[in-house]
């Protein structure tokens, strides 16, 4: 039968087309993010609430004259215990938010019903997951900036180092933190519910990575385990950059493991995604909710 329609679609495959599709995913995420204004409230309140719990506990334990803080300084080397705690809790919140946001991004699309319609297009499918990270990273940078501003204004926390060095450490940590998020997103599509895993991972970060104390206080086996968790290096590196004026050389012991973990977690995250994609084609998991 003759048809007036071309047997090929308008679409033109290629790297640039995939790149433009990735840009479209980023733009879509950004637009949707901006259309839920409640995030503004979280952005201003959460940076204060969570660290306050530890800061007030620290104040209570330091005694009426604050003399206990000297012991804290001796143990940690930090003169500003509030800044010390804020960096630890901010990293914990970063990892936590990535697990919820990136980790559940595909699942949320699946429940909305849009995952299948994305999956039906000829675009490189990993870009759907990558696209979620763009607005997430921007919102996290805003979160960290507002944290610094609030604690600077309200508690007098002052940086004694370079903002660029802090950003460098954060940049080095991004692949590891988001690689775990990618692996997690693939797991969530497969098992549908993974709250228990989020609680486990953030619990591990809370206990092992020294968010409010130096890991030297931990028993030996716990310290060894902590060395396998990227947030340990991120927290240590950020503290050194923020309060000890550490330069690139001093930060290398944190930057190198972070980069290595980044490569490892990106590979694991991508592999988990490919496995999930393959499994979904066999089981129909993409359309299930």
């Amino acid at each position: 039968m003759e048809t007036s329609l071309s047997p090929r679609s308008l679409g033109q495959p290629g790297f640039l087309s995939d790149l433009r599709a990735f840009g479209a995913v980023l733009l879509r995420e950004w637009r949707i993010f901006m259309r839920y204004p409640s995030w503004m409230i979280a952005l201003f309140i959460w940076p204060l609430i969570f660290p306050m719990m530890y800061i007030l506990t620290g104040r209570a334990l330091s005694g009426p004259d604050g003399s206990g803080l000297e012991v804290f300084t001796q143990v940690t080397g930090a003169t500003d215990f509030i800044g010390y705690i804020v960096i630890g809790t901010t990293v914990w919140m970063w990892q936590n938010i990535v697990l919820w946001d990136v980790g559940f991004s595909l699942r949320n699309e699946q429940m909305r019903g849009t995952l299948e319609s994305n999956w039906l297009s000829p675009t490189w499918r990993f870009s759907y997951l990558l696209g979620h990270t763009g607005p997430q990273i921007i919102s996290m940078l805003m979160f960290i900036g507002i944290t610094a501003l609030e604690f600077g204004l309200l508690f007098g926390v002052k940086l004694n180092g370079s903002v660029w060095m802090i950003l460098l450490v954060m940049l080095a940590a991004i692949p590891a933190i988001y690689g775990l998020g990618f692996a997690f997103a693939s797991l969530v599509i497969t098992v549908k519910e993974a709250n228990a895993f989020v609680f486990l991972i953030r619990g591990l970060v809370m206990i092992f990575c020294g968010i409010t104390f130096p890991i030297s206080l931990l028993p030996g086996w716990m310290q060894s385990f902590a060395m396998w968790l990227p947030p340990t290096y991120l927290i240590h590196g950020m503290r050194a950059a923020a309060f000890s004026n550490a330069g690139v050389t001093e930060l290398l012991p944190d930057l190198i493991p972070l980069a290595l973990f980044g490569v490892l977690w990106l590979i694991l995250g991508y592999s988990a995604f490919l496995l999930m994609e393959r499994r979904a084609r066999r089981t129909g998991a993409i359309g299930q909710y």
Partner: protein, 366 residues
Amino acid sequence: MSDFAIEANQLVKKFPARPGTSNPSPLHPSPGGRGDGGEGDSEGSRKLKRRHWPFGRREPKAMFTAVNGVDLQIQRGEIFGLLGPNGAGKSTTIRMLCTLLEPTSGTARVNGFDIVKQANDVRRSLGTLLAGERSIYWKLSGRENLEYFAALYHIPQPIAKNRVEELIERMELKDRANELVEKYSTGMRQRVAVAKALLARPPILLLDEPTLGLDPQAARRLRELIAELKQEGHTILLTTHYMEEADLLSDRIGIIDSGKVIALDTPEGLKHRIEQKEVIRLEVTGWHDEIADKLKSISGIENLISRQEGEADLWEVNMQAHNSRAAIPRIVEHISGNGTRLVNMNIVKPSLEDVFIHLTGKALRD
């Protein structure tokens, strides 16, 4: 290039069965009730075969056969209707053809491309409407949705811009194209979803229940659009619960039940199969199962289907008869009394739905 737009040979799809469930299909129905709730199977494989495996070796997984050897050859430019009751295997078949699912065995080609080995080429050839209004983003505007999907389908930007405007115009969305989709009516959302399927000007369209949930006017407009798309040369694979829709639009219809295509013909050809039969349609109040059993026992009566009409106690009962004149006095005799009242009775020409009932023993909307 293959002669056929879609060609499937002995497509089979098996899923691991879920233990302890009566609905082992992994394809859940959507909240709106669309899609296949539990995919069907043939007699033999319907029973979940879980053999006992001695000496500690892992028991082989029980499998559920959702599609059991489907053969299809859909011509370029035709509208092919795929009909089947819930759980017949329609959605699984469509999901295999659009590369969301990999077949367990068998092969299929879409626009000449293998659905497993050339999945991306298949996706480029297809426009799909699978989850209707849920397939688009409600927090984006109609225009933003179309621009987004145009990028996903790799349509070059200048072409995409024109195409989006053209489709907005065609779908009569111009006045509200910049409003968020969440403010649209169901019909408007469905039109955005159809526009999304048409963005890349794909030669083949898969439309899964395109008019489900639409008001009659919106459904009529969409049916007109489907007919126009055929005129433009699109091949359309359509699944629907609405017999009249399939009858009206389809060049050919495949009836699928228990994972197999049990009949495939033009709508007229299918109706011709039961032309020698008559359909007796009753409207009764106070209907109950005992009467159904009595009517089924009348010689020459078969395929009796009853369904309640709306909220009131009014039932429509359809049955097929070889000789309605002989059967009617006995039908009236059985229905009278016991609180049951005959409200209306007609003898009608067999419709496509009667063919369906004849072939599957169940109504499409069961």
